[in-house]
């Protein structure tokens, strides 16, 4: 396996919205910046084919910030906002309008028909805070902005491990080419993790379609895993979530649909709407994403997103936003089948379980390891969050690197690099052994059976034993036929590490909260309402602690 060295001040891992915003800002602040992207920044990640809603505060629309702040705490993000803490949330929304103006100037249309348009994710009569924007080309635009500032983008490179110096701070990272057998040693004084969400830990929503998920398999929690191995805390991993979207072509982005949720007989299932409303949408889904599963399991039957009654103008409006929210594949498919979306009632389903918790980072993007920053879905979710905190992480990382000296990473980490190279070569050389997909399915099965919708000390304890065995078998036996399979092997090993930390956290949370249903601790403990549950590696062992939300 060939070895290549790359040197920069700041390495952004993942070229999504957070990573590119970090790179743009760090480069503007004078740093030499590289972006390592597993796919291609033009179309990679959850924002790759666009988004249509940008949660933000715009003074001329919302007026007084304090009123906006009060109204913010409704809708699907309320739980997350409470966990972020006030300083963090305030920083987020005080900076969103700057990004709106910036993105609009760069060529991402943030206005609709000449004005700021707010819709979706809002209860009738309440303030709306999701700006509709035409984001289908957001990634090409951000890529262009990064390149124009001298950022070097390395597409088809997967960074999979961080390198720390003697004093425990970041000195670089290791990556591989996804197209050829090559190990890349990065020398960087600052690393910004922005690898996005965490798909692939639990089974997909459909039998036989492993990639039919809200988060594709390529969005595999790499940042969480490498941060965890570097000793950084992960938060609330056990508070797994479920989303909802069209069945069986599953997509996130439910709030773009302008219809009424109705049962098979046409009766609305929620109290909010009786006809399609393009401004507020049917909030029943946000009150309870699990309602589709509940109706199915109780025999009450399917629930449909029913577009009947929508005006021609509102239908065009909805289609425009569906295209910008990454639903072109679905729309094309409906069109090919000759279906009229305006007269259609599409069944919705509750999604697969997914890990929501991420890396602990403050509003400056700092983690507990010097030189390591994290932003975007790596930390908490949503687009405007990724943009604001990506930029913040880039700015602070750029300041940080001016104060620290570079370390010759090849000399300092010679043994570790050689060991990793040997491990990768072994995976590539094996002629017999489990493939990544075997290991991936094994993990999904274990997580569903032992850390799924029913949890207990007995199940979780057994799950920890079993995932430990899987980890041993996978780390010593996986084989990869080519560079592409090697990427998936490393992704799967990352997911196994995260699976282990999810199980550890779930074992230690002795209460029921949301979808973390402990049959041996059925009450929700109010004393934990304002606490975050952290898991980190201490001397190789997953260890949990609780901290107060600030």
């Amino acid at each position: 396996m060939e070895l290549e060295k790359k040197q920069c001040d700041i390495l952004c891992v993942g070229g999504g919205i957070a990573g590119l915003m970090a790179a743009i800002q760090a480069s503007e602040s004078g740093a030499k910046v590289m972006v390592a992207e597993k796919a291609n920044t033009l179309r990679s990640g959850m924002g790759g084919m666009g988004n249509d809603h940008f949660q933000c505060y715009i003074p001329e629309v919302h007026g007084d910030f304090d009123f906006f702040w009060k109204e913010l705490f409704y809708g699907q993000l309320v739980g997350t906002l409470q966990k972020m803490g006030r300083e963090y949330v305030r920083y987020w929304f005080e900076n969103t309008f700057d990004i709106v103006k910036l993105w609009d100037k760069w060529g991402i249309p943030m206005k609709y028909e000449g004005k700021y348009e707010f819709a979706g994710h809002g209860f009738p009569g309440k303030q709306l805070n999701h700006l509709k924007y035409s984001g289908i080309n957001q990634k090409p635009v951000l890529t262009k902005q990064a390149l124009s500032r001298g950022v070097e983008i390395l597409n088809r490179v997967m960074v999979f491990d961080l390198l720390k110096g003697k004093d425990g701070s970041i000195i670089g990272a290791l990556g591989i080419s996804t197209r050829e057998d090559k190990l890349i040693v990065f020398e960087a004084r600052g690393v910004v993790l922005g690898t996005g969400g965490c798909g692939g830990i639990y089974p997909s929503v459909t039998v036989g379609a492993n990639n039919n998920r809200g988060h594709p398999l390529s969005v595999s929690g790499d940042g969480r895993a490498m941060a965890y191995r570097a000793g950084v805390e992960l938060v609330d991993l056990e508070l797994t979530g479920r989303h909802a979207g069209p069945k069986y072509f599953y997509r996130v982005g439910q709030a773009t649909w302008v219809g009424v949720l109705r049962d098979r007989l046409g009766k609305p299932i929620g109290p909010y709407l009786t006809k399609p409303d393009r401004q507020y949408h049917d909030m029943t889904i946000e009150v309870n994403k699990g309602i589709f599963e509940e109706y199915k399991n109780s025999g009450k039957g399917p629930i449909y997103m029913d577009m009947n009654g929508i005006s021609k103008q509102d239908l065009e409006y909805m289609v425009h936003w569906l295209k910008n929210e990454g639903n072109m594949g679905l729309l094309n498919s409906l069109q090919e089948e000759g279906l009229d979306l305006g007269k259609l009632a599409i069944e919705f389903q509750t999604s697969d379980l997914s890990v929501r918790g991420g890396i602990v980072a403050n509003h400056r993007g700092e983690t507990s390891v010097n030189g390591l920053y994290a932003a975007g879905d790596e930390v908490w979710g949503t687009i405007s969050h990724a943009a604001v905190f990506g930029r913040s992480a880039g700015e602070n990382a750029a300041n940080y690197v001016t104060k620290v000296k570079a370390v010759d990473v090849e000399a300092e980490k010679k043994t570790a690099i050689e060991a990793k190279k040997a491990q990768l070569e072994e995976i590539r050389a094996r002629k017999d052994g489990p493939t990544w997909s075997e290991a991936s399915f094994a993990l999904q099965q274990i997580m569903l059976d032992y850390c799924g919708q029913v949890r207990s000390e007995n199940l979780l304890g057994a799950g920890l034993d079993i995932v430990g065995r899987l980890k041993k078998k996978a780390s010593s036996g996986l084989m990869a036929e080519n560079a592409h399979d090697l990427v998936f092997c490393l992704q799967t090993l990352n997911l196994i590490d995260i699976g282990e930390s999810v199980l550890t956290s779930a074992y230690d949370r002795k209460e029921t909260r949301g979808l973390h249903v402990r049959v041996d601790y059925t009450l929700t403990d109010p004393l934990l309402n304002n606490k975050l549950h952290l898991v980190k590696l201490v001397e190789g062992q997953p260890t949990t602690t609780w901290i107060e939300v600030e």
């Binding site: 796919a39 492993n210 998920r213 069945k247 069986y248």
Partner: protein
């Protein structure tokens, strides 16, 4: 399985190979009609269809992902 490339329209520019977020065209060479090496890994986000300058690609949605409607 998706994507399906119209060989008569494709000019082998390699755009889809360059941008596919899941690298389903792994191993394809510029100047040739791309091969769909990993169809099961397609996420159907439509990037190749959208960015193909020759409109030579369409997705076939696998039956387990058929859209259910009333």
């Amino acid at each position: 399985m998706p994507p399906i490339i119209d060989e008569d329209k494709c000019n082998g520019c390699g755009k889809c190979v360059e941008i596919c977020p899941n690298d389903v065209f792994f191993g394809s060479q510029r100047g040739e009609v791309p091969k769909v090496t990993y169809p099961d890994q397609c996420w159907h986000e439509n990037a190749c269809v959208h960015d193909c300058p020759k409109e030579a690609i369409k997705l076939r949605i696998p039956l387990p992902m058929m859209i259910i409607y009333k």
